[in-house]
Symmetry: D2
Subunit: 486 residues, 4 copies
């Protein structure tokens, strides 16, 4: 059985020397940095669930490649059922972490896309990429290794083609072809949770011209390869995470980070054994299309989990404020709306997989239009749910005092007294609920909370309008038009 | 001329001893705390513009009360024109600060509401509240003083009335009536930019029953009154602001905070000269209604300014990415949509004022239904604009590295190289533009950026769908149904 | 006093020989045709209200031109107040007719736009168009005449300029310049309620090139000029109106038609006295812009009236179904939403006028961006209100039997028995309410009713979801993320 | 092989004596009435496709019950694949008819629901309903018969329970229990396409109390049973369909009707062989729930087909106006949006089926929350698509002249000349495209067309705004806030 425990994963990860920069500094003990640690915690959940009896069906499967049970993160999608189960993995992992399990998530995409594309290349060109790739996947599956897909280049000037950029390195490319491998240079952007990975698949999606052969690459590199440098993101809220003893204020303290990074590839050597496409520009478009179809479903699926938590958080916050979510009509309406948004995204993404196409290699690929439409639905749903969550939870999502104020005796006295709402919910737990909502809404700059709540809640405004309108007058207009005389 | 300079305001403010707690500590030199200072900076803009020739009409007016030129923040709305000019004040101040000028903004509401209500009380009850109130306003106008309205009580259990709460202090009330004044206790929530104020008007909106007389209050207190304690908000992003030398990372560093606080009223004494309603429960509902009508227009008006900046920021970010906002159709469409949302809110709020009612006291009050409807429009507009801004600006709004990485020579080299997009925009300025968008979107937890941008932009997905759809088939269905045969 | 009664208007109108085609036939007694009569009825309301004491301020004003009281439909907008009152005219007329009072409505635009443009032409070119135009307006005002603006040409191939069309007549143009006047040819489209007009202003908005001088025209023609031919619209629902004794089935039987027509200008002669622009291409763009700004506000204003009736109709229909609009939370929410949409449009359009610009001629023109934004808001509001109205009123809006079934004794017995809902509302009145909703939703093909109501109402589906969701599970996810342990 | 041809269906149908009232009259040769004939045409498509080789997989299946190939309309859903294929039947049939194939569609629901419920009843109560029901289904499958589900009662006062209504007949109930069968009375509403059916399943969904046993029924009746009376709907647009030679004006002339009817059950006798539930109130709730889950997916699936046609119609109309849908950015955006809406609904409804639950009887039932959420998505999608279609197609959707005007030589000359747009599209075909859009938008009262298009198209307004906005000013605000100095 090729399944590591979460602890084995962390032990293995700690052995890797990585060059990671964040907030202006090179990190020494990078796996213990609070932000990266939160990300590693999130990746651990996928290992933990795979050890539990009740999640065997969702989290693991028998590999057709190595004949052993493997984690679904490293699976080949060889049936519609595989595709759908892989989505359920996201449905299960995501609400437990509320943030990003991208370290392994995108790895599945890379494994399946390259399985199919190398198959086609060999058929078409007589190459032996497919066998080479299967050997690599065998290693990944056997070791239950974590692997991300690194596809997006920094891109430079958007109005120019790859080969027209001012700096040839703005798209990753081969700078040298050696006897035993290639040397690549460039930078990959937006690589979610990539510091927590052990391998990266470097891939170039998109159509290239004949003179852009050096830009057409697919290969795998160990994450600690020489020349790999991470520059970690620093969104405004991350500052909160490096403060001592931060817990409540973080909303989600155990997990709760995106941990994306730029991955600089500063002349990284890749032996041919790990090179799966090397200048075959005609396959770039297919890589892009297949990756898109798989990625769109996975990205939507994880937001389903987030939307589910948002519904739960809305109900929790309402109760912390003293209101039962199911008994107050407008709150029931809004919470149900979030549930509905989650279900619409879930249905759509499962449907895209149920209508999957089989590739000649045996890999199943979700329906193109449905997968993209699901992702568009998800983006709208997330924003709407964010609005609804702020609406339900109230102004405290943007204006809560710090947990430290709960520790200072002077302020603690006032907060315990004045932030009490539901007699059955402690002020600390009310703060925790509000902070979770703050995190989930993604509204830490407080602008959206102000946009929604300044003055009075939207519901208060609606009630004002309902009470103010002269409905008899409006009904009379209607009656006259309809010739109703009594 | 009763106009202070911004410097005079700060000098006067610094004289006040205030008890302000934030992040677990009592602030010593509170006006120099980086967060409160940013809020004071925002309030200063209102003083600065009032000194400029070109803004005389918008920012100032001749007071009918004191016969001198006063800042519109302390004006009485004695005509429709006054109401509309007061909105233009918000339209002008807000895009310059991008955050909250609530210190004085809500003061205008208090001044106008109590002017009208005390007038009615005197007419109805034979009291002399109105003259008393005029004396107080005269002082505020003459001194060009900053004053906030403190109306919202902490509220306790939302399913219970004022008098049924477990703790009588959950709504502010009179705990003692003395010979020369009253003593009040309670706590006011969500008081935007209140630390920067010199006076607070304590008011109880809403309908009270006969046995709730002690909860029915309106009075004014100096902000440094004994018993006044501030507990400052601590939204997640504020942590970023206490880091040394923070600038680019803050998006808006000079301003950029909400600076709301709970105001604890721990047995504050108020002399009768500053008490304007004291147990006259029958006027509570009117206070609520009038306040709502004025506040809704002002709250919407400031978001108009924010939406205007969001449109500008979207255009700026697109250019930093290498794209001209007006030439790329989908970007023009989205930027124009933000402009349209701003214009709809602006139109609606000006319309609510143009349809104002005159109160017998001479005060003009915006139309009830329109004012509330404008605010609802604004909440939806803000959320939609946030989505559009993330869409246009791209993934960097959630994943930018820190400005410190621009200073570390190792990472600076990579960032200067790989974050270059538009040849005419420096990487630093691109970062500034992205950070501003991050701030304006209010999405610092990165969840919404991920929701919108993971994998590929929405526009990329749409293009995929447009290319994939078999339109001939769909058109053929249409042609057959319409009996079109050629 | 230059005010005709509604009867005088009809008497005068009947004197005009008009060549009107509809449904394949030339109409003989055209003013008595049921469809055109319904349109004439709608125009009469504007005359009727102007006779009533209570509407003097809204419906009439003192003309600065002729020194007499005139109907606001023929006014010059010489102040912000004039502009806003003119909108209130729409707010009042529209909910009384529920359809289109376009005969005179667009006339106001023409009068004001040409007043301003002829003023500028004379200043710039030394022509005497302005005085000529004032003489014509004097006649219109003195006679209280009805006049439409005919601006939109049929347009031909949208991808080609005016002068590049396959047929030169696809845009109206001068075919001959005579000693005493010009001869024009072309066709104007979408002319709302134009059969009921006595005059038409023919105008060419848009920018023309030097070689397109003949297309640049503004002039006025009596509606019965030789060469004027109307081809009347025939939307699918109009068939219902030519059935004998139709009343209930029409939703709005007295009014309830759009009555737009193509106006063919088959070599119509216009004496120079009525020509107000004749080849001055450089003013075409200004005509377009000014017309747009006025027209956008008026078009939005009339939909405000429609939205108001929709709110009333929703409340009426709910009651006919046995439910009190204010007591059932989801119905109150939806009806209030329609009220809010109406108020947002109203506010925005009044705001656009309150922020009007004064043209040197003394004419006030609504703000450009706000006016256009208001119109966009209105289009979305109308569609959303339509959905809400169907939702509230229910499936009968698309599936009601005919009023004739209420007369046939066999079916009458069943309908009286089985369509009874609210004991206080007769089945006939329930049918009337449903038919009014059908009309207002604009959904006579029943597709949208089916889209919304098939199976069960949206509210039923929401309730199902609210009951089915395992909220404890979702809340537990939330609690775990927030580290809430009890 | 148990498959009838369409002709056999019509021949068999014509043999039935039915009492159908419409527009105040009892229909004689009811199958030839133009409205019912259009509905019968729509039902024929399901028979026709089932005869074609290429649709065998979608339209037919091997019945586990009778061991022969049957039409999927009469299938038992015995796997997820069956459920999904049944949806594809809707996806295929709907865009070919653009209206309603409800005659057989709801029959599938009845067959599957009662199969499951009778199974449970027998298990729980020891009855033999299940075998009885299987015999009836065997007959339906063997004869390839058309059968609708009649579930919705007229309902009376919505605020009262079944047993509290003023008239006991407002919900269908047993009025007599005889030796050999029961006699039922009541009226079923909104029965889509029911005149074209050969059988009706009468069913009572919902929870009943002990004293409401007589209201708890499920049974099947031949459509020509004694006591069955249809009162046919008469939506406003139906008047157009009874005019001689109507074709173009109808938008969809071959199909294009909903043809719903009230079905009066005036003491209809049902032999016990066709009674499948008779007073077992405890199963009412299950009937409601199962029906809902199946019906929601089918109702959504047929709108997917409609949305697909709407996308095709939008592209067609744009071309008729002279514009290529894919080359004009805003049209591509809107058409793609309709495609996306269709795909989202399709994905969601397939997903609901892919996540189906197996009932112990072997029947598969779509997921409850997802199925309801899909239907809610569809209602919003339909309205949005309607707006987009009007936007793209333009004002002619509401203002086209009649096809008769194309025949009258006088008007024909003008229409051929002035309605010409795209040189490659005849005026007749442009009219056909516009009429199809009119039908699909469901906007025959022209109100929505006016709401969207009066004055200028939304795109024209947006362009005006884009040109008018002072973006430099807005960008400067942004630059100042971001401290960008160059």
């Amino acid at each position: 059985m090729a399944l590591r425990t979460a602890e084995q994963y962390v032990t293995d990860l700690k052995k890797l020397q990585k060059e990671i920069y964040m907030f202006g500094e090179k990190l020494d003990d990078w796996t213990e940095h609070p932000i990266i640690k939160a990300s590693i915690n999130a990746q651990k959940v996928g290992f933990e669930l795979a050890q539990l009896e009740e999640f065997q069906d969702v989290m693991t499967m028998e590999s057709t490649l190595i004949g052993q049970k493997v984690n679904r993160y490293v699976q080949l999608h060889t049936s519609v059922d595989d595709l759908i189960k892989r989505l359920f993995l996201n449905f299960e992992v995501q609400p437990r972490i509320g943030s990003c399990h991208g370290t392994r998530c995108s790895g599945t995409h890379a494994i399946n896309v390259l399985y199919a594309v190398t198959y086609d290349m060999d058929k078409s060109l007589g190459t032996d990429y497919h066998e080479r790739f299967k050997r690599w996947v065998t290693m990944i599956q056997s070791g239950d290794l974590t692997c991300t897909l690194a596809a997006t280049d920094v891109g430079g000037d958007r109005s120019k083609r790859v080969s027209e950029q001012m700096d040839p390195d703005l798209y990753t490319h081969i700078v040298e072809r050696k006897q035993d491998g290639i040397v690549i240079r460039g930078a990959k952007m937006y690589m979610s949770a990539s510091p927590a990975a052990e391998w990266h698949v470097i891939m170039s999606p998109g159509a290239y011209k004949e003179n852009e052969k050096d830009y057409s690459i697919a290969c795998a590199i160990p994450a600690n390869s020489k020349g790999v440098i991470y520059i970690h993101e620093w969104p405004a809220v991350n500052a909160a995470r490096i403060q001592e003893d931060a817990d409540i204020d973080l909303g989600i303290s155990t997990y709760g980070v995106h941990s994306s990074a730029m991955i600089i590839l500063d002349d990284v050597f890749v032996p041919y054994e790990h090179v799966f496409l090397c200048g075959e520009t005609q396959f770039g478009r297919q890589i892009g299309s297949l990756t898109g179809r798989i990625q769109r479903t996975a990205a939507t699926a994880c937001k389903v989990g987030t939307l589910d938590v948002m519904a739960g958080a809305a109900a929790l916050a309402a109760e912390a404020n003293g209101l039962n979510w199911k008994k107050v009509p407008h709150i029931r309406d809004k919470v149900t709306r979030i549930v509905t948004l989650a279900a619409q995204c879930k249905g759509c993404v499962v449907g895209a997989s149920a209508m999957a196409e089989e590739h000649p290699s045996g890999i199943f690929i979700p329906d193109l239009i449905t997968a993209n439409s699901a992702k568009l639905l998800e983006a709208e749903a997330s924003i709407e749910a964010s609005k609804l969550l702020i609406d339900v939870a109230g102004g405290l999502t943007g204006t809560a005092p710090s947990e430290r104020d709960l520790k200072n005796p002077t302020t603690k006295r006032y907060l315990e007294k004045y932030l009490k709402a539901n007699p059955d919910v402690s002020v600390e737990n009310r703060m925790r609920a509000m902070r979770l909502c703050e995190y989930l809404c993604g509204v830490s700059s407080t602008l959206q909370v102000q946009a929604i709540h300044t003055g009075v809640s939207p519901e208060g405004q609606k009630m004002t309008i309902a009470n103010a309108v002269d409905m008899d007058k409006l009904k009379n207009y209607a009656k006259k038009l309809a010739n109703i005389r009594d």
